[in-house]
């Protein structure tokens, strides 16, 4: 029996070895390897997931880099929203499989973990999916670019631009944990800064609150014009649904403002429930001809339109490959920090976000848009969800470099 076991063992040990050698042989010096680390099976699947992978593949195609004799290989994995799975995959990709750049990485805890790994190994992370503004603040590294959005930008636009659009008095429904508190604190500052008033707030236990009725009644009793939702995911969905059932927004006197809501959330809620909701995104497929063209080319299954996270994956990979084309594959592979520095030195230009740039602290900047969800009667068809309320220009949309506390710019 033990002989049999030993044979089995050596066979089992040899299999990955043979695979590893074959992989290494294939990975020539002329190949850039891109790893898309995302959520394929849980709550961010629609927002990022397979759509992000598709966006990356399209960016590789459209970059035209293969015609210049540079090979690009794209791999992907599901981090299951678990930091330990995410960091094992990231380490393995870099140490064993020769991955040069890691894309997307939704979920802040996973993103922060991968952030440390890419710095330690001098590779690149182009983060599109995570919200934490720490990625360009206290946790910033010379190897990371935070591409699409962050919590500061969302609070700034939804808080500040909303006041300028007429929402003077606010009441917050806040999830009672660090993330919710931070959202409420930031948004309150912007509301006051723009000349609005915060009438009060209520904290909902987190996680596990499913009944928001008493909190919604408090919000209604405050007679605030805007009810800000300083929460995320399922909490936001539930609050919006129950607010619709209560008729909180009926008559248009009160508006709901979601601080972390995506177009995929609006799609799953349906216009009947989500109508009148105010939110911020940095990309909407129906903004202009270029974004429409991008969304049509991407052709997500089922006629779905890309989210801003998926658009960010496209845009970041396109820009990275541009930088690789300029500096050469060998130099880009040798040092992730150099590749990022090159990316920061070049202006960005793509169909999804238009012209933009990357700051020294790793923040990609572009305008942010305040949207209101259309009423069902206003919508001309599937995915026609938003009307534009206001635009914050790129230089004001994100946190000023000096306030972030990033060690790179001190």
């Amino acid at each position: 029996m033990s002989i049999q076991r030993r044979t089995l063992l050596s066979a089992a040990a040899a299999a990955p070895l043979a695979g590893g050698m074959a992989r290494r042989a294939r990975a020539q010096a002329n190949t850039i390897k891109i790893g898309v680390l995302t959520d394929m099976s849980a709550l961010y699947r629609d927002l990022a997931g397979p759509g992000s992978l598709r966006a990356v593949q399209m960016a590789v195609q459209e970059s035209g880099i293969t015609q210049r004799g540079i090979n690009v290989e794209v791999v992907s994995a599901d981090h299951q929203n678990r930091p330990d799975v995410g960091s094992t995959v990231a380490r393995q990709w870099i140490d064993r499989d020769g991955v040069d750049v890691i894309i997307d990485v939704p979920t802040s805890s996973v993103a922060l973990a991968v952030n440390n790994i890419t710095r330690e190994k001098n590779k690149v992370m182009l983060n599109s999916g995570a919200a934490s503004s720490d990625l360009t603040g206290s946790a910033c590294t010379p190897n990371t670019i935070h591409w699409t959005y962050d919590t500061w930008m969302l609070s700034n636009s939804t808080g500040g631009a909303m006041v300028r659009a007429g929402g003077q008095s606010w009441f917050f429904i806040t999830a009672d944990y660090a993330f919710g508190h931070a959202l409420e604190r930031d948004a309150s500052e912007f509301v006051r800064g723009a000349g609005g008033r915060v009438l009060g707030s209520v904290r909902t236990p987190f996680p596990g609150t499913t009944d928001f009725s008493s909190f919604l009644l408090q919000a209604q009793a405050s007679r605030a014009q805007v009810v800000g939702l300083a929460n995320a995911g399922g909490d936001t969905i539930n609050t919006i649904k129950q607010a619709a059932e209560f008729g909180l927004t009926r008559g248009g006197r009160t508006k709901l403002a979601g601080l972390l809501v995506f177009i995929t959330d609006v799609h799953s809620l349906g216009l009947q429930t989500a109508q009148g909701l105010v939110l911020t995104e940095t990309f909407y497929w129906d903004l202009n001809d270029k974004t429409r063209g991008f969304s049509t080319r991407l052709a997500l299954p089922g006629g779905a339109k890309p989210s801003m996270v998926q658009a960010g994956c496209y845009s970041s990979v396109l820009h990275y490959l541009k930088a690789v084309g300029e500096m050469g594959v060998a130099a880009a592979k040798a040092s992730g920090a150099d590749a990022v520095a090159k990316m920061k030195a070049m202006p960005t230009e793509d169909d999804a976000f238009g012209a933009g740039s990357i700051r020294a602290d790793g923040r990609k900047i572009h305008p942010s848009y305040l949207f209101e969800v259309k009423q069902p009667s206003e919508s001309r068809g599937a995915w026609d969800y938003y009307k534009l309320l206001g635009t914050t220009p790129a230089d004001q949309a994100f946190r000023p470099v000096a306030q972030g506390g990033c060690a790179l710019v001190r």
Binding site: S109, A139, A178
Partner: protein, 328 residues
């Protein structure tokens, strides 16, 4: 568990006398395990192996309680996760060396186990499981709110540091040897506990608690002791994991982690000394190597679990042992 009648008298003598309390078959399996630990880092990815060993130790600790005392705790994530948080905090904020930080993680797990166990062992069966689950959820809520855990971002960039002041753990292979060492120490400690007179009493409690009481044993004291040992080892496993990965996050204290360790023990084989290791290996390998299949991970995991429950009621190691008519 095979009935004692299934073994001949000579088998039983062999089992008692062979080597350090191991039976002959266990010695062979142990040699294979040692060989695997020595050879594998040169073939397989060390970080993956370290993760496997951390979870294997966690599953072994859990198995000490469920396999040998018959207490199904559904809250082991609390000790695992808190051990991880405290180790991370000690290493990062207080600047303690890794060995002390991990030890501290174990102590915190044990202390938490003492408090929760003291209350939980007063009930049996489903009530026991529910009480442990309830306390674990309280610990989870505490971790969501407490400032030192960093909320849903967790504690990030925990330094690996230098073991005993000279061994640089930032090199993966060095970290691997430490992890393997801690795992083996925990594994042998559990084996020793199970085969001590104390362990015999534990097994008698599992088989028939009123009878153990009637023989004059204070069964509550024994159960509490086993609970604390199990929780302490779970804390060590959690601490080790946070040093390996440099992170401690909410996933480790969430109830799904308690479920996962039950799954590992079931797949490997409850009440077998090698079962938890095999179970952890199966589950962690799936999590890691199926990651590229995307949404299929959970489906495949579910299918394998159903298959195990239907076809291998004793778990993989239990079935192999039964087939070879040895105790593994």
């Amino acid at each position: 568990m095979a009935a004692p009648g299934g073994f001949s008298g000579t088998d039983f003598r062999k089992e008692e006398a062979y080597f350090l309390g191991f039976t002959q078959a266990q010695v062979m399996a142990f040699v294979v395990l040692i060989a695997f630990l020595l050879i594998s880092p040169f073939f397989l990815y060390p970080v993956f192996l370290m993760k496997l060993l951390c979870f294997a130790l966690f599953a072994c600790a859990f198995n000490l309680l469920v396999g040998y005392v018959g207490l199904l705790s559904f809250g082991h994530a609390a000790y695992f996760g808190m051990g991880g948080y405290l180790t991370g905090h000690a290493a990062k904020v207080w600047g303690l060396p890794p060995e002390l930080s991990i030890l501290l993680g174990g102590l915190v797990g044990a202390a938490l186990g003492l408090v929760i166990g003291w209350i939980a062992i007063r009930r049996q069966g489903i009530y026991f499981a529910m009480i442990t689950l309830a306390f674990a959820q309280m610990v989870y809520f505490f971790c969501v709110q407490a400032p030192f855990t960093g909320g849903e971002d967790g504690i990030q960039s925990i330094p690996r540091g230098y073991f005993l002041g000279f061994l640089d753990l930032s090199r993966d292979l060095n970290m691997y040897w430490l992890t393997a060492g801690v795992f083996l120490a925990g594994f042998l400690l559990i084996h020793r506990i199970v085969h001590s007179p104390f362990g015999m009493v534990l097994k008698s409690i599992r088989e028939n608690e009123p009878r153990a009481t009637s023989l004059g044993y204070r069964t509550d004291d024994y159960k509490l002791m086993a609970f604390v040992l199990s929780a302490g080892l779970a804390g060590v496993a959690g601490g080790l994991k946070s040093i390996v990965f440099g992170i401690a996050t909410l996933t480790d204290v969430f109830w799904t982690m308690s479920g996962e360790v039950v799954l590992m023990s079931l797949v490997g084989g409850l009440g077998t000394i090698f079962g938890p290791f095999v179970g952890a290996a199966v589950i962690i390998t799936m999590q890691n190597y199926l990651a590229e299949f995307g949404a299929w991970v959970t489906v495949i995991q579910g299918a394998i679990f159903v298959l195990c429950v239907l076809a291998f009621r004793r778990g993989l190691v239990g079935e192999i042992g039964n087939w070879l008519r040895v105790r593994l």
